[in-house]
């Protein structure tokens, strides 16, 4: 779900940069408010690397194929660091591999970053519900975060693409293939949800301080 150059009208590209800029500013401000803002940087750097290569991992769901996105996972594990991490990862993907493009960097960063922050909100809401100590519930919230991240990103991409179909193409055929691609993200939601659940369960056992940040104010959802 990386929208490349030349697909969207200029106004949408500009709006994408505006929203991505606002989200990044918000996230950086939240990081700055933390006790030790640099503490999360190593983790964020490593997960940026994972995010960067994830788009090479293709999973066939006939008639189409999708690639891993991992934005929900980044949101769950990194919190507010997810937004800058996604922005940096997308920048490298666009420059190196033409996955996405520089003009659409803002649109793609919003498309993946906003659901990542929402996934973080979902995952952190386990504290409010008093379920943070339970392995099972941590896994369930991890699954929800990972799945919602992908699902919402696919839904945003679908909306943007359908609303900006240019007049000079066969709109019917393009709409059908966009719909097919979006539907193919439903199994990916499950896959990334399970992957996120496994990762948070693992972290909870091995290095729980990575996940236990009740002091962070979760995104109000």
């Amino acid at each position: 779900m990386h929208i490349p150059d030349g697909i969207l009208p200029v106004a949408v590209d500009v709006a994408g940069y505006a929203t991505a800029g606002a989200l990044t500013w918000f996230s950086l401000r939240k990081i700055q408010q933390q006790e030790n803002p640099q503490e999360g940087v190593p983790k964020a750097a490593l997960l940026t690397a994972a995010f960067f290569v994830a788009s090479w991992i293709h999973i066939p769901f006939p008639p189409t194929s999708v690639h891993l996105i991992l934005n929900g996972l980044l949101g769950v594990v990194l919190g507010y660091y997810a937004m800058p991490a996604i922005l940096v990862g997308l920048f490298f993907q666009a420059v190196m591999f033409q996955h996405g493009g520089l003009t659409t960097l803002g649109v793609n960063a919003t498309m993946m970053g906003l659901p990542a922050l929402l996934a973080y909100g979902i995952f952190q809401s386990r504290y409010r519900l008093g379920l943070a100590q339970s392995d099972t519930w941590t896994a369930v919230f991890g699954f929800a975060g990972g799945a919602v991240g992908v699902g919402l990103a696919a839904a945003i991409a679908f909306t943007i693409l359908i609303l900006t179909l240019p007049g000079n193409i066969d709109a019917e055929a393009e709409r059908a293939s966009i719909t097919a691609l979006t539907v193919a993200h439903v199994p990916l939601m499950v896959l990334e949800g399970v992957f996120t659940a496994l990762l948070v369960t693992f972290l909870l056992r091995v290095k729980p301080e990575v996940l236990n940040r009740p002091g962070d104010v979760p995104v109000k959802v």
């Binding site: 929208i3 697909i7 640099q38 190593p42 750097a45 490593l46 960067f52 194929s65 193409i169 966009i178």
Partner: protein, 167 residues
Amino acid sequence: MGQQEVGNQPRALKDRGRHASLISSTAALLALVLVLALGGTAAAHGANISYTSTVGVALAAAYDSGEPMAEAQVMIYAPNDLSTPWQTGTTDENGHYFFTPDPELPGTWDVQVRQAGHGQIIHIPLGEGAMPTSGGGGFSTMQIILMSACVIWGLAGTALYFSGRKS
């Protein structure tokens, strides 16, 4: 007796075949005679073939997973008008598309192939007396591995730098 019958059978078949071909060639001859007799004006026997050689462009579109972009939409923009497509079409099931640009319009032809919001624009320079060329984007697997390795190394280095400072 039975053997004889079996032995005769091919000859009978061959005869029948010969008859059939005789009949068909007779019919053809008859038709020719009829045409000559009835169509008195169909008298042109000379042929004249003229030719113009132009440059055709064969496109091959594939996703970077190697999968062809089957039935993707192709939009071709001539150098004199980059806002309205000069030609639109659809790739075949192997992601191939062929078009013959107008030789009267030298310059850079822009070709966009898109499917489900994925796609790319390539610029094909076509001048007067253009020679056959080929080109395209994409990296080799080795380049991709090396680029990925560099980025991962950089990010891992960042991680190590910050975790080292902490302790």
